[in-house]
Symmetry: C3
Subunit: 290 residues, 3 copies
């Protein structure tokens, strides 16, 4: 795919994914949504990608939905009257998929479905979908120049990108509701205090810090273990019970113990670094996806 | 309704709801439960109410269940032998509704069902139901004179008001269990450190701080966006999955983008404050309640 | 049962459970799993046990799975090809129970099923299952000598002991994933900052601090209230909704108010300490287990 709104760069196991519409502060469009979904689906099955780092070109991360386009700026087909039954029963029908489904949500689901760890490196303003797309990334770092805003209430719409589900799980229900109700823009220090970020670093050191964390996820670590961990953790945030976690983990340990686990145990006994060879493209255990 | 245990005051979008039995430290009764439920149901559909602030008259917030009444002080009908099947299949039957259902839980469910943001301003002792009724409010502030206590284990009963479900989601499972097991009274600073509170302020400044936060939720913000956000966040804490969040959010954005969202986008383009006109009483989208 | 890998000591309501294979840093074995499950099941029905405190003998807490044994070190039957349907439909069949089920998960489920509060007192290295078995304990304390590590990705296997479900609920999804991906060993201060621990204390004071907390859960507190609280909180972390919490709590208050609750209210009125007599072995209400 020939991307026009994002740029990809591979660096020794790390995929740098840069939002790239700098003339509009990397404002989000329906095209960008499609390109992000494609890029995360490709990264999920590309064994050369061990970690994805998402950042923005120029001074912003993503200034939000591009409100400059004509018609329904969210790309929605106003001639429809969709019901919850439509969403449950025919989510894939073209009129629903293209005219009703929230594009930010489609991106968030694609990021959560990716088998690779995802790090958000927020270099500047991250507003609206710029903030909510971060919630499906595993680790969020920000430059001290970053700003955030769940501004939907000021635009007159509801929050999106699965944020009503994810934000309370990340920062707690009280902080989530306050940020939604306030709908204003706040700085990186408040985002850090509120639990949205792992760390705030000087702007000049942001990429190096993101890479440092990513490298710690790769060297001597099993890519299949990371993929199963990520999928089990996000599944476990949803409806399933601890008994279901036990069932999945039992199978995950059962199968991994006979592949990378065999090498890991041998390396431990021989006091050497393991050399793992299982790959997410070919060696996911037979119960995946469940 | 002519309230005897609470007082209401409307102030330009804010409903001040004051627990008002000062002679008994605002101790909770079955009558107070009924009046609170009625007040929150009324506020939910009253477009003049944008935010509800709950506080207590005098030096206490709510000293807990009034243990001074005769018979079963919790208002329960001891002649019954209810089962979980009774609770699932005939929760509305008069003998179950009046003789078995936890009154604190009925209040908590009514607060969660309200379409308006709710702020708790804890002016003094909040013990037992005084503490647990706070959990279904969105933002909790306290005076430095406030005290808290999940004292059920010392009264010999189980926790109520949906607190076994809400408290772990607010402060984490470990802190929740410790406070339940200890069953003692602790001060506002411990409540703040434990994550129960957003802030502790000097007693003299409590109401002003609550109002300051409430005003930030109102001016230039869409009331329908806030209502949908609140209902989606509390629904999302329960059983439904991220896919369900995506379905609901898609519909919520779809419909709001054609009403307040149209004004919000226009205001953004014209660099002016939006003038939202959708109301929770008349303009909730057709998929609500789901 | 004659335990070989753990030691039990009763002290006036507290059961001290010590992991006891000091020659191997208390490394975890299939035998230890069986003994832990038996000990927690016994403690659950032993009214002399009000709180369980788990610690390790010698300088370690638990150094992880004993990787020194022959064959599949995790005790798994590699001749099988289990599916998720097997796990859902015949979890109790001997070949699945003994050859596929994760032993750490069986221990975690037994700890969560126990009717007594459980405190982890981490005296030294807690690695792999040494870290994950802590997650089903209610309160975690550590010596400043303790270390932690969710090292599964470095061993080449997936996380276990329900940790993909529990760890995100305790420390948040972002911190959980980072620790899983890093798969390294970290110190007690990082564990404290990350939310895994309630407190870090000097090594010499660890047992005294654990006992101090445990005593606060016992004196003048209802054992049945604590048992119901624990079971409702862990059930509530799973699939059930706030409505289900309300149903359970209603029944829990209904029945406890007529036993220990009657004494608690009388003691309150008479301004004296309550003398609770209900026991988890005989006085759990009729809807338990649900």
């Amino acid at each position: 795919m020939n991307y026009e709104t994002i740029r990809l760069r591979h660096d020794n196991g790390i995929l740098w994914l840069t939002l790239h519409r700098p003339a509009t502060l990397n404002a989000f469009t329906v095209q960008m949504a499609g390109e992000l979904i494609h890029a995360f689906e490709s990264a999920s099955d590309d064994d050369a990608v061990r970690v994805v780092i998402v950042t923005g070109e120029g001074k912003a991360f993503c200034a939000g939905m591009d409100l400059g386009s004509g018609g329904n700026v969210f790309g929605l087909d106003e001639s429809l009257s969709p019901t919850l039954a439509d969403m449950e029963q025919r989510l894939g029908d073209p009129d629903i998929a293209n005219g009703v489904r929230d594009t930010g949500g489609r991106v968030a689901l694609a990021i959560m479905a990716c088998k690779k760890p995802v790090i958000g490196a927020v270099n500047g303003a991250a507003v609206g979908i710029g903030s909510t797309m971060l919630l499906s990334m595993d680790v969020r770092l920000a430059s001290d120049q970053a700003r955030f805003g769940f501004v939907f209430g000021r635009v007159g719409i509801a929050p999106e990108a699965c944020s009503t589900w994810l934000l309370p799980r990340i920062v707690g229900v009280s902080q989530a509701l306050e940020w939604f109700y306030r709908a204003d823009v706040f700085d990186a220090q408040e985002a850090l205090r509120g639990g949205l970020l792992r760390a705030v670093v000087p702007a000049a050191g942001l990429r190096a810090e993101a890479e440092r964390i990513a490298r710690g996820f790769i060297s001597g670590r099993s890519a299949v273990s990371a993929a199963l961990t990520r999928q089990m953790v996000y599944a476990g945030l949803g409806t399933h019970e601890r008994d279901q976690a036990h069932r999945l983990e039992s199978l995950a340990v059962f199968y991994t113990s006979q592949k990378d686990g065999r090498e890991g145990v041998a390396a431990f006994r021989e006091r050497r670094e393991p050399r793992f060879t299982s790959t997410p493209s070919k060696d996911m255990p037979p119960f995946y996806p469940w």
